[in-house]
Amino acid sequence: MMFKQRTNLWNNFWVYLILFTLVLFFILPMLWLVIAPFSSKASLAVKITLPSLNNFRELFKNKIAILAFKNSFIISFSSTIIVTITSMLAAYALSRTNFKWRSTLLYALLLFSTVVTGIAAMVPLFVLNLRLGLIDSYLSVIFVFIGGFLPVSIFIIKDFFDAIPKDYEEAAIVAGSTPSQGFFRIILPLSQQGMVVIALYIFMNTWGSFLMPFILLRSVNKYPVSVAIYTFFTQEGLPLLGLLSAYSLLYSLPVIVLYIIINRKFGFGFHGGLKG
């Protein structure tokens, strides 16, 4: 009995030591983001100086910085809203009808969305937008995001619809409501959680996205934050670290806040194997 306790203690020591090391590995690189923005003389070092909000004051005077935040919101919001609506419509049809090529369509969606990543398709996507005359417009980025995020959203929301028994709408129809009433009065309220999950999933993913705006946008005043952050350099090519760190922190806040909300409300875990 005594022996068993000692091995437990010894095991616990190792468990906590490894955990501590892992925590250090993950937390040390983050320190800069928490400390540098409030430093009066920001550098690449993690140094605690007298706290100051100067960097943020400077940042709010920077027109490009403010504009980029607006651009990021425009791009992420529009993509999120359009994907959420169109994916819910499509998923509802795929969940409630059984036409001949339904499974083929689902398989094709799954296959193409797995194979065709933004990276693999950066060249044809650029050429497509060039031919459509969309280069350097928000629409190019928004359309590419919509096409890219739709399949995943359809699969997530379809899982939610599949879990709602068909009897509900059938009963409603028998009682005299129209199919669209069935959708709006029965399905929508019951699948609210799914709707919120995909909306947040798309918002968080498009918010941080770099490659597509980087390739498709040309004018500085259209850049979202992920690309505009590149412009914070002095004329000598040195990064303006005060601005940069403050900006990085502000840019990260929306996703961190959304994460906290999801975690509180639903628990952050796996929905059908996807993040959400």
Binding site: L22, F26, P29, A93, I173, S226
Partner: protein, 292 residues
């Protein structure tokens, strides 16, 4: 009495699917197929082939296979994917095992930190690592300095190592969450029985836990391979340098297609190769899904 069509007529179902299908067809399926065609032309962003390009058959593919930078980027991609795979799946499993029976603040704290590293925008993560690894001011070298080690220019000494560790740091959360869910599904009685017969922690891991979560491990590995192969964030950290040493295939593709005169045709040929590699990985993954 009620078959398929009662809730939604076929016509209405089609109308419901149409908007999504249109977006997916134009901005996802069509570009992939078009890449193959562009890859067979000598289109360029600027210069004489900007406007009237010609069909050159497989010239771009032959050129790619003759280009030493293509081969080196393939090799770097392979190292990058393999290293990240070991790092992410390894750390993810380790974290899931260590946190499995823990409760309360410790588990919350550790998993939240790992997840925040995953959800913060890639550009921010890249800057964090630029600061952390900086030769003169970076926190890592400062700590090593206190411990009596010399300063290291990490980006020059260990270029591929840097992007692997950077990517591991960023992506471990996915494996951790997947394995946490998998471990929850193991009936506690299995492990209790093992305790009764006095099995060591290692034996429990090897003989009970690993075999039981094998499907999740395989899923994790194949998805990580696919995702890591399709990652562009190292570009923000290193721009592919120094001296092309961190130029993974996506960065090579970007450089060929958009830098210099912008060899779009050549770039599309490389895109086609990436698409084919993705297709192979995706088919393996879908086959595994079906078996489950």
């Amino acid at each position: 009495m009620f078959e398929g069509g009662i809730i939604l007529s076929k016509k209405r179902a089609f109308l419901f699917i149409l908007p999504a299908l249109a977006f997916v067809t134009v901005f996802l399926i069509f570009p992939a197929i078009w890449a193959i065609y562009i890859g067979l032309t000598n289109e360029s962003l600027t210069g004489i082939y900007g406007l009237n390009h010609q069909f050159v058959w497989f010239d771009n593919f032959i050129k790619a296979f003759k280009d030493p930078w293509f081969h080196s980027s393939l090799q770097i991609s392979f190292k990058f994917v393999f290293g990240s795979l070991v790092g992410q799946a390894g750390l993810g499993l380790l974290l899931a095992l260590l946190l499995n029976n823990k409760k309360g603040i410790l588990k919350e704290l550790v998993s939240n930190i790992v997840i925040i590293a995953w959800i913060v925008p890639g550009v921010v993560v890249a800057y964090l690592w630029v600061a952390f690894l900086d030769k003169d001011f970076g926190l890592l070298n400062s700590i090593l300095g206190i411990l009596g080690f010399a300063r290291v220019n990490w980006f020059h000494t260990l270029p591929v190592g840097v992007i692997i560790i950077f990517n591991t740091w960023r992506g471990t959360a996915f494996s951790m969450l997947l394995f946490m869910a998998a471990l929850q599904s193991i009936p506690p009685s299995y492990l209790e029985t093992a305790d009764v017969i006095g099995a060591s922690g290692w034996r429990k891991l090897r003989d009970i836990i690993i075999p039981l979560i094998k499907p999740q491990i395989l899923t994790d590995l194949i998805l990580l391979t696919l995702w890591t192969f399709n990652v562009f964030t190292p570009f923000i950290l290193t721009k592919g340098g120094p001296a092309h040493m961190t130029e993974i295939l996506p960065i090579y593709n970007y450089r060929v297609a958009f830098m210099g005169i912008g060899r779009i045709g050549q770039g599309a040929a490389i895109s086609t190769i990436i698409l084919l590699i993705n297709l192979t990985l995706a088919l393996i993954y879908l086959k595994m899904l079906k078996r489950k």
